[in-house]
Symmetry: C2
Subunit: 232 residues, 2 copies
């Protein structure tokens, strides 16, 4: 250890950045060192997935290189294929990794308020809007962005997108069904139909939000549907 530090110090004399990179590397190594092998690997996998979500959201699939993701995660390029079979497979996993928290968040809202499912849905989307404003309308929804970009060209990712959107839609439908039973949402239209419309209009509104740099489209979308069209 003493040898390593002195080595790093001598490097620093030649290159200011070398020291930082070196010490970071040492830190990461010790951070992972005492963990079980499988946990360590799972942790790095998840780090890559998290970085993948963040970068694919803002820069798209083809606009983001593996190098970029790996650098941000401090994982060597050569290691990528220890964790994922290919960029395409990685993309498919990123899609699922992205949607999981949204489904969990919506599920929490739906479980909490047993008396007014429509209000729960409304509160959920209000939370999303706050998050979007916090991010200054960058990114939008990874699902929507990737459906447009690679929905035609990557069969693997298309399937993953189909599954992710399907899972999300099913949960939203169950919430709307509950709201129908509670009498706060019209029952002459199926919950599935309304869930699809809400998701689709929301996706389009997110695209508009991106180019207008304003939350007005998404706010209007929720108002139009949840406070008007879906009402009994």
């Amino acid at each position: 250890m003493v040898f390593l530090i002195s080595c790093a110090a001598s490097l620093a004399l030649q290159d200011g950045e070398a020291l930082i990179l070196f010490l970071t590397y040492q830190y990461d190594r010790s951070y992972y060192k005492n963990m079980p092998k499988v946990t360590k690997k799972e942790l790095k996998r998840e780090t890559l997935l998290n970085q993948g979500v963040a970068m694919l959201m803002e820069q798209g699939y083809h606009g983001t290189g593996l190098q970029e993701i790996l650098d941000a995660a401090n994982i060597p390029k050569g290691s990528f294929y220890n964790y994922f079979g290919s960029k395409e497979n990685f993309g498919a996993e990123v899609i699922q990794h992205y949607v999981d928290p949204f489904i969990a968040q919506l599920a929490v809202h739906l479980q909490q308020s047993e008396t007014d499912a429509l209000a729960a849905i409304r509160h959920y989307f209000d939370e999303l809007i706050m998050e979007l404003e916090k991010n200054e309308f960058k990114g939008g929804c990874l699902l929507g962005n990737l459906m447009g970009e690679i929905g035609d060209t990557s069969e693997i990712c298309r399937k993953s997108l189909q599954s992710a959107v399907g899972r999300y839609r099913d949960l939203l439908r169950s919430g709307l069904t509950k709201a129908q039973q509670q009498g706060t949402v019209r029952s002459d239209k199926s919950a599935e139909e309304m869930a699809d419309l809400l998701i689709n209009a929301w996706q389009g509104a997110l695209l508009r939000m991106k180019i207008e740099k304003s939350s007005a489209p998404v706010k209007q979308c929720c108002k139009d549907l949840l406070e008007d069209f879906f009402k009994p």
Copy 2:
């Protein structure tokens, strides 16, 4: 000329494709030869824009290389920057070139039926759906795809998208206003609000269409809004 043809023939003995490419090249040269300079240049520009629309639709912005577009248009790589300042500027022009026919088509429908603007809008979207089915749900809408892919990263294209969507929205709004005056669309909601909702839901439905490989989402979208929500 005799020399050139015999040269092509000798090439063909070694490589089957060479002959075709060579003769095509000769044809193009003679095709453009007697034209005024400006017309010739405009024609090539438009060829590139048309190819750009087609390829960016299916493969996205970063998924399509300039070389690919130029090859498809039979225009040399070095010539690209005689027509466009950069790939980014090209993209911004492709966006406008893409939306023009849609605006023209919608305008025709709105002008033709003075008595029922809502029916005109409905017929316009029915035409779009037929076109999408003909293309087997590939591509979708270039505006939606690029809003998602580069809406965050290219300011030039963002502005172009903003303008293109704005032009489209304004025309749709004028149609809905007319329908309001004709009494076929509710008047307690502004035409602008409904135009935005229709565009956004349509965009989202197109994304769903891509990954489901079905026209059901776009059909449902039109039905929900034009035959239900927008009714007085």
